[in-house]
């Protein structure tokens, strides 16, 4: 079978219409592929992503395995030739995987909610119809798990936010938010690791160095680690 035929199979495989969270494998140029897991975006599924990330580091030619939110990107040193085999191996590994139970480290992160460091708290109030105290309580209650790193150096995608405080991303992104911005974007929350643009709603500020390129590893947190936001202060 020639390479082009194999490829067509990969590109055609998913049936995206009407099945937004079906399993899907697609190309990102010649040297990267994206595996999207079926089902919910929750911790049991994410643990299976971590297991696949660990397993496929040893697939021939793999440069890096990069977990996302219930998905996994594989990058390659040179374009992989046997795409149908890779695809089959990913499917099989997903089906077999029981999940990698990472016992990570835990950090408590004090947050000053509202005020200058939380300019969009009012927008979350008006979107959810909840009061400031209620929002802060709901945000600080869960034990959040780091699902993946991405966006910018040291930034953590967290799982576990209470959907009651979900707030859509802003229509116009903020050009420059400081590092340490605690924010909500859709059903996700996170803390920015450095200053930069953001489309999320910033509700508070935390002081923490999430990334230091001289450290080994450079990122403070890794998938499987946990964070709890502690209420240092609420400014109304």
């Amino acid at each position: 079978m020639n390479r082009q035929t194999n490829l067509k199979k990969v590109a055609d495989l998913p049936a995206p219409q009407g099945a937004p969270h079906a399993m899907r494998i697609s190309l990102l140029g010649a040297k990267a592929i994206l595996f999207e897991a079926p089902g919910a975006m929750d911790l049991p599924h994410q643990r299976r992503i971590w297991e696949l990330a660990q397993r496929f580091e040893r697939w021939p030619g793999v440069a890096e395995t990069v977990p996302g939110m219930s998905n996994l990107m594989l990058t390659f040193h040179t374009p992989p030739a046997e795409l149908d085999r890779l695809q089959e191996a990913l499917r099989q590994a997903w089906d077999e995987s029981a999940g990698l139970p990472i016992e990570g480290r835990h950090i408590d992160l004090p947050v000053v909610y509202g005020g200058e460091g939380g300019p969009h708290l009012a927008d979350v109030v008006s979107h959810t119809g909840l009061g400031v105290d209620e929002i802060v309580q709901l945000h600080a209650a869960p034990l959040y798990t780091v699902y993946a790193l991405g966006s910018h150096p040291g930034y953590c995608y967290l799982g576990g936010m209470d959907p009651r405080i979900a707030t859509p991303r802003r229509k116009v992104p903020v050009v420059r938010l400081p590092g340490g911005a605690v924010s909500i974007g859709g059903e996700q929350t996170g803390v920015s690791a450095s200053a930069g643009p953001s489309g999320w709603n910033t509700i508070g500020h935390a002081e923490m160095e999430f990334f230091d390129p001289r450290r080994e590893p450079p990122a403070l947190l890794a998938p499987g680690d946990t964070i709890r936001f502690c209420i240092a202060k609420v400014i109304k």
Partner: protein, 332 residues
């Protein structure tokens, strides 16, 4: 040392990029026109991944504080060394105190200055490229500014300096000639695109236009990404994606339907639908696309994208062989 006498806002130190740290949220950075950087290093007999300066906005002037071999590749920018014209895609020997000035580019968008031995900035997480968001790598983790003094790596043992070969320097033909990709229209740059995950989620008419119509590179275009303007892409369904890894070249389509090509300084993850990816072999063509120019997308499959990458690497290999052979002949 070289001292920066004048620069625009976004001149940065770059090598071929930082790889293997996506899992920490660190994107690749690296030269927007990787071929231009590679050719500069080939001309000078440098390590293939030696760091140079990417100069996107002019004016740019620097002074050599010691005798230095240098190469200028990428955009043809009417450069002069102490007032004497320096051809594009050329390497030359500068004497201590001489001033190199880059003018307004006649074609292309970014010029690359490489020096014999490469720029001596520390490798951070395996690369000398500037990581702007993380404020590390390159020169102090930031764009260059007037007054900066950059050190140069001592040349490898046995490396032949340009001055020993030719007083007037030497050069090569630009890669547009060796790696042609006709767009069928003057001033339109063709780049090859491999369809991505959400390709099938756009209307047939949108996709037909995607391949047929030119896409304008708008002023909101830089190392992070190019925002394009054109007929627009209409999705057949609403898409809410989970955050996932992306690579430079990915063409995302926000709700407006006007695509954004994510580039070297882009976030390494994203959530917008992806219609395709500009193939790795053509990222250098994007690096030389100017604001106001148009792009045309040419559809390829994985086999063709792979072949294009091999063709590019073969081109650089053959160029290196030719330059080495020429050096030998001159030396004898």
């Amino acid at each position: 040392m070289i001292e920066i006498l004048a620069t625009g806002a976004l001149s940065t130190v770059q090598d071929l990029g930082r790889f293997g740290v996506l899992r920490f949220g660190v994107g690749t950075s690296g030269a927007m026109d990787d071929i231009a950087l590679a050719v500069g290093n080939i001309l000078l007999g440098n390590d293939g991944n030696a760091a140079g300066i990417e100069v996107p906005i002019l004016p740019f002037r620097l002074r050599f504080d010691a005798d230095t071999d240098f190469a200028l590749t990428g955009a043809d920018c009417a450069a002069t060394l102490d007032g004497q014209a320096v051809p594009p895609w050329w390497c030359l020997h500068a004497r201590r105190g001489q001033v190199l000035a880059l003018g307004v580019p006649r074609s292309g968008a970014r010029a690359y200055l490489t020096v014999g031995g490469g720029l001596d900035v520390p490798a951070v997480l395996g690369s000398r490229s500037t990581q702007l968001r993380g404020s590390f790598g390159g020169f102090e983790g930031r764009p260059l500014k007037k007054g900066d003094a950059l050190a140069i790596v001592a040349r490898a043992e046995g490396a032949t300096p340009v001055s020993a070969i030719s007083a007037s320097g030497f050069g090569v033909r630009p890669p547009e000639l060796g790696l042609p990709l006709p767009s069928g229209q003057d001033d339109v740059i063709a780049v090859r695109v491999l369809p991505a995950a959400e390709y099938d989620s756009y209307t047939a008419e949108s996709l037909a236009q995607f391949w047929r119509q030119p896409w304008l590179v708008t002023p909101q275009s830089d190392r992070y990404g190019y925002r394009l303007e054109g007929p627009g892409l209409q999705a057949t369904r609403s898409m809410e994606l989970r955050s996932h890894g992306i690579v430079p070249g990915v063409i995302q389509v926000p709700h407006s339907g006007q695509p954004i090509i994510q580039l070297r300084d882009a976030q390494p993850s994203g959530g917008y639908p992806k219609v395709g990816t500009v193939i790795e072999a053509d990222l250098w063509r994007l690096g030389q696309a100017r604001i106001g120019q148009s792009l045309r997308f040419v559809q390829v499959d994985h086999g063709q994208a792979t072949a294009a990458l091999e063709e590019k690497e073969r081109y650089l290999f053959q160029l290196q062989q030719a330059v080495q052979l020429q050096r030998k002949i001159w030396n004898n």
